[in-house]
């Protein structure tokens, strides 16, 4: 048991991002307000960005520059990938918020429960 602890602490970056991921997912599932759902979704996505970026970091590593004195550098590829993923995430959020605006216009509310109640009355 005790031997396992250094191993767990060693990967603390994973624990942080998994905690954030689960938080995000919980918000998506537990909240009926659509804007809050999108906030949860964004937290969820951002947690995954952290997972990538922390994996590219080398302890004591420098920025990836080709020059003297820069021998052990962080892996730049995860950063580039996440740059793309951030753009995708922003686009998703924008489409999601756009839909919420349209839903608010059409139904007069962005609370899921209220919409479903009305749907049953119709």
């Amino acid at each position: 048991m005790i031997e396992a602890i250094p191993d767990l602490v060693h990967h603390y970056n994973h624990w942080v991002s998994i905690f954030l991921m689960v938080c995000g997912l919980y918000i998506v599932v537990a909240r009926g307000n659509m804007v809050k759902k999108l906030v949860g979704l964004t937290v969820f996505q951002t947690a995954v960005f952290l997972l990538y970026i922390s994996a590219g970091k080398i302890l004591g590593g420098t920025p990836p520059i080709i020059a003297e004195g820069y021998e052990h550098y962080a892996n730049p590829l995860p950063h580039v990938l996440i740059l793309t993923a951030i753009v995708v995430g922003v686009a998703t959020l924008a489409v999601g918020l756009g839909l919420v605006v349209r839903i608010n216009e059409a139904f007069g509310t962005i609370e899921e429960e209220e919409i479903f109640e009305r749907g049953e009355q119709e």
């Binding site: 999108l38 995708v88 998703t92 839909l99 839903i103």
Partner: protein, 495 residues
């Protein structure tokens, strides 16, 4: 010269056309652009398929950056086949779209509809053609974002809710996929499919938990896009709410591409042994596939909206395709892959016919379509023939798929699976029979009484698909033959 760049053109052409559509923002110009692009797609796809069958795997270095550093487009028989399915559906849907879109989408949004359609097409083709894990994610999101917008364009305000629901679930799915790819990257240091596969060989997978976690994340993530039972909740609402053209396009293509990506991961990347021999993925898939077949067919029986009914039927049909994967033998996999193609034909034809009802009778509710078989006999006949294919009557494509699936089940020593396929086919008789009964044996009333046949531009694509259902049902040499080759390629892997 230009033939060398066909793999890039396949994806770039619709991508550029989409931006042009958005910039001109004139609905007629946008339509012509979308039409011409869609017609060019099957030419490129068929040329690629012929090249692959002739010379083997094509590897295209995007932007001249050699793989595994650069993004590789890699085409073998399996994805060339999927490319052909996608682009044929695209080419048929555009002539059909003109009248239906004009009636269902507000004028100022029609150019955007075509823009989104082209983006979606480009994304789907990109997922199919690419040999790079992260590039696949980007294309997945391009197609998904376009799909959310397409669904939200539906006339009913509930389409907005369906689009939002799909956006939330789809994003969770895509993010799961990214987590999986990230774990694979940390373990192998590469994103190229072939390269990942080669380096996983060198790892001891049993002790490498991140790789197994990656398998789980990727399976669930893509499973959401496939609408694998029980991750299908977004699909019925989305298909029921979207405009008719979008529904037909998505039903015929989107889930198929996701299934292809899943097959790619199972067979090419993780490898047959890891997924099916060392871990019980197939057993889990088998249970989910059968559950999907039954749940989808049973719920379809109780739907009044034909679009929703066919959407539930799609959940069941995806079950058949996954069944072909889960029986882990060559015959069943052939059945699964050939059903990818056949289901695209069948559902395309059915949704085309339903789009005709929506346009001419103004309703897609079964209860309001009484007597539609008398006022729109040509459209209804197409619906019936496509329906027979869905059930799997001999002489239609549905029979070919189910034949291979049943044979595969017996080969796997699971005769009871063959029996289950038969039962779910009978359930299909029930839900399609309801439509036929109302359409032919009741007196026309309401919108159905005044309905006339839709224009030729809509009838012709419908009947081309129906004819294909029959032709490929009688002579399955071409489709089943190609599917068999694709199955061999997948089982042997890239090596």
């Amino acid at each position: 010269m230009i033939a060398d760049h066909l793999p890039a053109l396949q994806v770039v052409l619709p991508l550029v056309a989409a931006t042009v559509c958005a910039m001109v923002d004139r609905r007629h110009v946008a339509y012509v652009i979308a039409l011409l692009t869609s017609f060019a797609m099957p030419l490129i796809a068929v040329a690629l398929l012929i090249q692959v069958l002739d010379q083997g795997v094509i590897s295209y270095a995007m932007g001249g950056w050699e793989p595994p550093i650069g993004i590789e487009y890699r085409i073998d028989v399996a994805n060339a086949f999927v490319l052909v399915i996608l682009s044929l559906v695209a080419a048929l849907i555009m002539p059909y779209a003109a009248r239906s879109v004009a009636a269902e989408i507000p004028e100022n949004k029609q150019a955007w509809f075509y823009c989104m359609y082209l983006l979606c097409l480009s994304g789907l083709l990109g997922i199919t053609i690419t040999g790079d894990a992260f590039n696949a994610f980007v294309f997945l999101e391009i197609s998904s974002l376009a799909t959310y917008v397409l669904i939200a364009m539906g006339a009913d305000r509930r389409a907005l809710l369906a689009a939002f629901q799909y956006l939330v679930m789809g994003t969770i799915g895509a993010t799961f996929y990214v987590v999986g790819v990230g774990l694979l990257y940390t373990m192998t240091g590469t994103l190229n499919f072939a390269d990942i596969a080669a380096r996983l060989q060198e790892l001891d997978i049993e002790t490498s938990r991140p790789v197994l976690a990656a398998l789980a994340f990727i399976t669930v993530g893509i499973g959401l896009k496939v609408a694998m039972f029980p991750l299908h909740a977004w699909l019925p609402n989305a298909y029921a709410g979207a405009p008719s053209v979008a529904t037909a396009f998505l039903a015929a293509t989107a889930t198929k591409v996701a299934v292809y990506l899943l097959l790619r991961y199972f067979y090419t990347i993780f490898g047959f042994d890891v997924v099916f021999v060392q871990h019980p993925v197939a057993q889990v898939l088998l249970i989910l596939a059968v559950a999907g077949m039954f749940a989808g067919s049973l719920i379809a029986i109780f739907q009044d909206n034909i679009k929703r009914m066919l959407a539930w039927s799609s959940v069941a049909q995806i079950g058949y395709i996954l069944l072909g994967v889960s029986l882990i033998n060559h015959t069943a996999l052939t059945g699964g892959i050939v059903h990818l193609f056949n289901h695209a034909l069948i559902k395309g034809a059915l949704f085309f016919a339903v789009g005709g009802f929506a346009l001419m009778a103004g309703t897609v509710r079964i209860s309001q379509l009484a007597g539609i078989g008398r006022t729109m006999p040509v459209t209804m006949a197409a619906f019936v023939l496509a329906g027979l294919s869905l059930i799997g009557v001999p002489g239609t494509v549905g029979f070919v798929s189910k034949w291979y699936l049943v044979l595969g089940a017996f080969e796997a020593g699971m005769w009871w699976v063959g029996f289950l396929i038969l039962i779910t086919s009978l359930l299909a008789v029930v839900y399609l029979g309801r439509v036929v009964e109302v359409a032919f044996f009741r007196d026309p009333e309401g919108g159905a009484a005044k309905a006339i046949e839709p224009p030729l531009s809509m009838l012709a694509p419908t009947w081309i698909l129906v004819a294909a259902c029959i032709v490929f049902g009688i002579d399955a040499e071409l489709t089943a033959g190609t599917a068999m080759q694709a199955a061999s390629v997948l089982i042997e892997g890239l090596r």
